[in-house]
């Protein structure tokens, strides 16, 4: 089984803090990895490194056997945890933008997803509610036939019904020739999708492994393991 992501001894330091420290992980093709941890644990930094938006201080990162850069940006579909779309764009223009720059963008699939999400191409991003912006962003990300999907808190602004819609879209569009890394605080909603789980705390990997194996060994759900691992954080 080929590895889509190979991270080895990755460290990221800023002037005032260390965001990631000696992180090592691998993600095989066709797997969905849950990247879990409290706020400030380093999840977003790791995802940004994979998306080529942050440069590592040391260690190695390979995506499809390539170091992050212009070539990996063409095969990584990244959803940041904030609205990255320009407010002046319409939903259709956002689709045009992606189609112009990403060769793997499937316009037909985008139009289908807009229909499923209840969006129209003429709506302005600036006039959409938070949940609708989230749906637009997810439609854009899933319309790419990427090798790696990196989703940072994809369910942030969604109500339970919309969350269901998005999860259905996620399942329907996931292919066996790609992989996904997903970070979320709503562990219970998505944990049954996870093939692998990585728990981060203060920039370190504190627990990792196959989701099913962890459940069996510990006799608990991933959400319960999350509570167990981060109990000290919640108590802080």
């Amino acid at each position: 089984m080929s590895m889509v992501v190979q991270v080895s001894h990755l460290t990221k330091r800023y002037i005032t803090m260390t965001a990631l420290s000696d992180v090592t992980l691998e993600l095989p093709e066709g797997h969905i990895m849950g990247l879990l941890g409290p706020n400030g644990s380093g999840k977003t930094t790791l995802m940004k490194i994979l998306a080529g938006l942050v440069s590592p201080t040391s260690g190695s990162v390979l995506i499809d056997e390539m170091a992050p850069g212009i070539r990996t940006k063409a095969v990584v579909s990244f959803l940041p945890d904030v609205n990255h779309l320009d407010r002046w764009m319409s939903v259709g223009e956002a689709g045009d933008f992606y189609a112009d720059f990403y060769l793997d963008f499937d316009r037909k699939r985008f139009d289908e997803l807009l229909g499923i999400m209840g969006l129209t191409a003429v709506q302005k991003i600036g006039s959409l509610s938070k949940g609708m912006v989230e749906k637009t962003r997810l439609s854009l990300v899933f319309s790419r036939k990427a090798r790696l999907y990196v989703l940072d808190e994809p369910f942030g602004g969604l109500d339970p019904l919309a969350r269901r819609q998005v999860l259905d879209a996620l399942v329907a569009n996931f292919r066996t020739d790609c992989s996904m890394i997903l970070s979320t605080q709503m562990v219970a909603d998505v944990e049954h999708f996870f093939d692998d789980v990585v728990f981060l705390d203060d920039g370190h990997v504190v627990l990792s492994g196959e989701a099913e194996d962890l459940r069996t060994r510990r006799g608990a759900s991933i959400e319960d393991i999350y509570r167990e691992v981060y109990g000290h954080v919640e108590a802080r």
Binding site: Y14, I70, L85
Partner: protein, 262 residues
């Protein structure tokens, strides 16, 4: 790169529309000063000369505003959320930065064309002015030295912007968590580079004081500037500044490709 330019222009369409409406309104306002002077074209001539100068000043302000917007939007891309869209694209840093430089050139051309259009509109409305400058307009626009001067000024402006972009990018590569620290650092880098280049430029100009560029940009419009007499322009310091701008462009592109911290 051109696709990115197209999208950035599309994002600015409202801004451009507002800017051009304001400039159009100012032109028309200036034009109202000629009302009632049609009977006495000769009397209107002195007033007429001040009006296009005032108009030119408005366009300089317009250009300065657009330049500030260029820097602010670039900073927003680096420090704000839209940076994930721009810097997540499979483009090289040089292409992203190049699109910004192209936008600056477009702003410059728009300002030049807008300014010339304003003068033509005013000239049509002002009989005194029209009589004074009409014979010179054609030859003036074909004056080689005038365009050499314009290109030189554009090269210095582009270099200045490259240095600004470098400062902003360098500040951002150093820090992520402390956003204000990054912007303060960016400002310090820009100030330091501009100060050092100014000092170095003064030193070079003193050392090579004999090396000057002699141009006659107004030779076909003798009512402006030195007329047919050649004007002296510094050469060494601007050349040094342009080289610094090229260096800033290369270094910024490298930082974007290798050291970005969004």
């Amino acid at each position: 790169m051109w696709k990115l330019v197209r999208y950035q222009l599309r994002g600015r369409r409202l801004l451009y529309t507002i800017g051009l409406i304001v400039m159009g309104a100012l032109t028309l306002y200036q034009a109202t000063r000629f009302i009632g002077m049609h009977e006495s074209p000769v009397q209107s001539a002195p007033v007429s000369m001040n009006v296009p100068l005032m108009m030119a000043l408005f366009w300089v302000v317009f250009y300065m505003v657009m330049t500030v917007i260029n820097i602010v939007t670039y900073t927003q891309d680096l420090y704000g959320d839209t940076g994930y869209l721009v810097f997540g694209l499979p483009l090289r840093g040089a292409q992203v930065l190049g699109s910004r430089i192209v936008l600056l050139v477009i702003d410059t051309l728009m300002t030049l064309l807008g300014g010339m259009t304003s003068v033509i509109v005013l000239a049509c409305l002002a009989p005194g002015l029209a009589q004074q400058i009409r014979p010179w307009v054609g030859p003036f626009l074909l004056t080689r030295d005038y365009w050499v001067m314009c290109l030189g000024v554009l090269a210095v402006i582009v270099s200045f912007m490259s240095i600004m972009f470098f400062g902003v990018t360098f500040g951002k590569t150093l820090t992520n968590s402390k956003k204000h620290l990054g912007s303060i650092f960016s400002a310090l880098v820009v100030i330091a580079v501009l100060w050092a280049s100014a000092q170095f430029g003064i030193m070079l100009e003193t050392r090579f004081s004999g090396v000057r560029l002699y141009l006659r940009p107004w030779e076909n419009l003798p009512i402006v500037g030195t007329g047919t007499q050649p004007a002296q322009f510094p050469l060494i310091a601007p050349l040094m500044f342009v080289m610094l701008g090229v260096l800033a462009f290369v270094m910024t592109s490298w930082l974007m490709d290798r050291k970005l911290n969004l």
